[in-house]
Symmetry: C2
Subunit: 223 residues, 2 copies
């Protein structure tokens, strides 16, 4: 497989070109878009459910849910009140700009203020594929362990915010918050961080305020 690396590079640059086109489409409609990534089970869908409910009546939300199989995530987002499009990657371990492009064609973008894209549960490849979103967010969770920034540096390096979910489990698992945050700081100094629990609701208001501010800042820079 000596040709492995050049093939990957070609796919990535084609992906990045299409990601720019996706962002141009979003900008033409004035829609702020966020790419949410995480390990399986860190709580992406739970965070999105809370976000949909918390922003109801304040922002018009659209969703694209990526998954290897099933439409469980899109079903949950839709039940929470969002317009949701499901992408089944058919085994691929990440979303790419092509898949998102197809999904954008199915949404009437002018109906939305905020588009949330839920990536496939994976801490590796999603970090390498731009989708055309304006910001990207990583959802980490306490029971995954405090070594994850060190072990998955690519993911922690490239995101605009880290949501540290499941803080209600801190009393029950060994997790050194200092060590975890040192790892984040080394890879992504000053990155926005939220400590919250989707289960108890603790810390969610700060996350909701941030996402609303992001949409407002986006509008301000465009007007």
């Amino acid at each position: 497989m000596p040709q492995h690396i050049p093939v990957v590079e070609n796919i990535l640059s084609a992906n990045d070109r299409l990601a720019l086109e996706n962002q141009a489409e979003l900008d033409a409609a004035g829609v702020f878009a966020v790419n949410i990534m995480a390990s399986p089970g860190a709580g992406k869908t739970s965070l999105i459910e809370h976000t949909v409910r918390g922003l109801a009546g304040k922002l018009r939300l659209g969703m694209i849910n990526g998954d290897v199989a099933t439409s469980l995530d899109a079903d949950r987002a839709q039940a929470a009140g969002a317009v949701a499009i499901q992408i089944n990657t058919g085994g691929d371990c990440h979303l790419d700009a092509v898949m998102v492009h197809s999904a954008l064609l199915k949404l009437n973008l002018t109906e939305f203020d905020l588009l949330i894209i839920e990536n496939v549960g994976n801490l590796i490849c999603p970090a390498s594929f731009k989708l055309g979103t304006h910001k990207s967010v990583l959802v980490a969770s306490i029971p995954e362990g405090d070594d994850k920034p060190y072990k998955y540096p690519g993911m922690y390096r490239g995101v605009d915010a880290v949501v540290i979910n499941k803080i209600d489990l801190l009393p029950y698992v060994p997790f050194r918050m200092d060590y975890f945050k040192q790892g984040i700081a080394a890879l992504n100094p000053g990155v926005t961080q939220f400590e919250l629990s989707c289960r108890t609701g603790e810390g969610l208001p700060a996350w909701l305020a941030w996402i609303q501010n992001q949409v407002q800042d986006y509008r301000n820079t465009r007007s």
Copy 2:
């Protein structure tokens, strides 16, 4: 990218051929090998640490630890008393037979009864790449959620055993064991399952007995 799928198919069949060669090397030395897969943070490394300690003096253990970056896992395995070789995949989200082949060359296989290969933390791609091991084991964990078999069917379908780790967290997270096990049963009827906690030690003896029996069965079929 119309050529994407054929390229993948060629890589897979080349991988599978090399996986057979890896297994032949293992068999020539009489070493039983297990591929351990899981989501990031499910507890692969903790389970392996307990396995190394629990089997000390009973089986001679070798380890290959796959990781995107760092040698944290190999360091932990080695601290627990195993001979460990680290594979850094350099960004790849799974081990493949080529990487394992290179690692096998660095080990004197005749020194071992059992070789444990710790795959990269990922519930998707590792399921598609045979390594040449005799058995494969998935480590699931309670806080990941009870929907994981439904969302990552490829991983649950192909394994010989499922270890359900972190059962000490059952009182603190919403997790319907029945629903989880129904998902497993639909994909992989009758698959061997262990419920345990690497933190409290509950359930570990059954896992240790199973792995010892697997090595014994392997020896019996070969003699």
